[in-house]
Amino acid sequence: MSRIITTISDRRKIAKDTYEVTFKCVEGEFHFTPGQYVEVILPDLLQADTKGSSRFFSITSKPDDNQNISVAFRMSDSNFKKTLVDKELGSQVMLRGPFGDFSLPNDDTKIPVVLLAGGIGIAPFLSMIRCAVERLPEQSITLIYANSKVERAVYVDELKALSDKYQNFTLILKYGYIDPSFVKRSVNNQQNCLWFICGTPMFVHNAKYILGELTVDHKQIKYHIQAGYGERHLQIDSREISHKYFNSKEIESYFLNGVNVSSNPLLEVLSQSVLISVSDPNGIILYVNDYVLNITQYRREDLVGKNYNILNSGYHPPDFFQTMWETIKSGRSWRGEVRNVAKDGSFFWVDTIISPIFDDDGQIKYYLTIRFTITDEKRAEEELHQKTEMLQTTLEQMRVREVELEKIKKATLNILEDLDEEKRVVEKKVEQRTLELQFEKAKILQVTSNMKAGAILLDGEGKVEFVNRRVYEILKVSPAEAPLDRIVSMLCEHFDEKDRVCANVERMLKGESFMEPELTSGSRIYEVYFQFLEEQNAAIPTADRFILVYDVTETKLLERSKSELVAIASHQLRTPLTAMRGNVELLMDESYGPLNVDQKELLSDMDISTNRLISMVNDMLDITKIEKGTLDMDPEDVVLKEVIDSICEDFSDYARRREVVVSINVPKNISVFVDRSRVRQVLQNLIDNAIKYGGRPGKLEIEAMLDGDYALVTVKDNGIGIPKTEHSRIFGRFYRASNTSNSSSSGSGLGLYIVRSIVEQLGGKIWFESDEGEGTKFSINLPTKKIAEPG
């Protein structure tokens, strides 16, 4: 017997559900004779198939057939067979064997050979026939093949071809069961044959019975229980045979008289794995095979001559054995699973079959006991039981988990549904928002297209997002001529101050906002806003910068002509006013005769009115200049005390007449860096107001002090004050305090407006504190040194 690794070299379907697989062997590696069988082992199936990783198959190929070993089998649910058929050609498998001594007589006796086959038991005969028909032309071979199955039998076609070709081979097909007369007819009453039987246990049993009927000498019969179902199958099958296959003579010849069991193939197989013992009718042991000694650890002399009590483990109750004895004594077989004890005290389980063996008189002569060790199976059973319990626990746990999973699944589904709902809501919102945005954009487009200003919207990179129609009108191009990416540079080019505009665009992109009041393009004048939006534009979110271009030519021209009109009118007014003033002065001077009190009063009123008119004209001209931005500023160091003293000297008569006492507290060392005439104008205005609106008797305090880089000058009177409700308006144009109705006030109402404008242009600030009836204090601060130009 050898064990070899081989490869699958061929595989074919030879009949319905029937396959032949061929293994390729190296020459001389595996020796077998026709009719032997082989164990095929698929190592990768060790765990996958409940019946193990190996099966026994009859060899269908000839021994010299290119060292090929072919096996045939009918497909079943067996995982093993499916795996074998599915294996790729070239896959490795293991073979063990050969088994069985089924060879044809190799002598010159020329005794006819009759082969009795049932079902797929034909397979081992095939290789015998294939060999014999050629090699032993003189040898007559008859195959009686009984097949009860409806399906077309395996190899029938090939067998028919062989019988047609070779005279020495006769094929007799029988659909259904065979009986003694059929067999007798088939062999022409020729009983001196060598009989080979192969098939299922039932077939073998029947065939042996038939041959018994035909009084064939049992030595002439060789039989082979179909082993194609594997070792385990073989065991179970062999349990059925114990008493049926042995009579008392056979017991004696095989066991008691020391005949070698190997002459019987079945016994040979059995004795390697089965406990066989023979006892007399009283249970005294007559024979035990080596396997019994092996398992029980006793010596043969310990057992032979004793009864089986020595093996009793005490596990089973007494009535267990009582039943057994009653059964076998009545001539029936008993079968049961028994726990025995070995010599060392260890237990072993055996599946026990005790069969009575009768003598020719029908008396029980022996009991044949066949025991199959099932300790492993019991253990396996135990394990299986444990495993089943574990499996059940696991299943239970899985069921719990399943319930939990189901819950989770439901919860998840709920969440998903919620999410879905949320998604729908969000989508709806997005849709709505999109619509709103489109609407906003449409509105913006509509509004901007009708806008007087040209509008360009850009993002921070300078990418133009939107241009309204007006831009194209300003540039005098069509939208096609001015693509979006060129529009800004085209706009820059449009202006006479193009470099300046380009710089402005850059500044805006960096995030500045500012306005150019006057840019020109030829005769056109534009006001341009470069705007950076802190807040995002909702409709066009990325466009957060824009350029607005207003064509202000007409407005500017109108403004200019208005200013010019005012300037011209003012200047033209000055000449007659000068004449009036001069004539009044001449009269008041009494150079042309003395005046009475009434005349003097009338002329004084005229003088005041004329002067007021003159100061109004002057104020209007100043405002024109302020608004045109052409107020002259020529800053220099101006000593405050000098200016204030000078003004007060000019006003000294006036103050005296108004009964106003002027006190000056201005240090000599304070100087301011401003335009001399303008600071004088400011202070003159404030002092004039203080005297004019001061109390009677009035008190005017003029003070100055240094405050950091500024000089603080305050002019405080004790006069009527400014009503609280008018505080916010006093620096406005044409403001005249409502509580000054007396005719002596001669202001144009432009004074404080001009004062504030000038102070701011001088780089200072002006503010006041006043309570009605308590007087007013004006404060201005003016820079003492040159102010750094912003930017």
Partner: protein, 136 residues
């Protein structure tokens, strides 16, 4: 009127007759000898024929105006070393550049007509004379 301009001969170049009369009367009352011219050409003729010590010059006039005369003076010294007092209501006096131009041309004083009283004008002329006419 205080007699602060006694025996000073003043050429007053003034186109407006009312103003002209007021100046003439008032400065005469202050003691000055007044010679009146209603435009630049007349002023130039008078300068050739009469002894003039101070010139009161209006700027805006028909014909040859004050600017023209000063331009001429810059080129040809038409007023010689006589002090020139610009006295005007013209908007030019609001223009820093023009005022600067006048000072550059050597005028002795610039007076806004409407802002100046007659006595103030007399004082200004007197002051200019003291500074510029050493012989007085």
């Amino acid at each position: 009127m205080q007699k602060i301009l006694t025996n000073i001969t003043i050429l007053c170049v003034e186109d407006d007759s009312v103003i002209s009369r007021v100046y003439s009367k008032s400065l005469s009352l202050a003691g000055a000898n007044m010679v009146m011219a209603s435009d630049g050409d007349e002023a130039l003729r008078i300068l050739k024929n009469q002894k003039i010590e101070v010139i009161l010059l209006d700027l805006e006039m028909p014909g040859t105006n004050g600017f023209d005369l000063i331009e001429l003076h810059k080129k040809e010294r038409v007023f010689g070393d006589r002090p020139i007092i610009v006295i005007s209501n013209a908007s030019a006096l609001d223009d820093e550049d023009k005022v600067a131009w006048l000072w550059e041309a050597g005028v002795a004083d610039i007076i806004m007509k409407c802002n100046m009283s007659l006595s103030g004008l007399a004082s200004s002329i007197s002051k200019v004379c003291k500074d510029n006419c050493r012989h007085l």
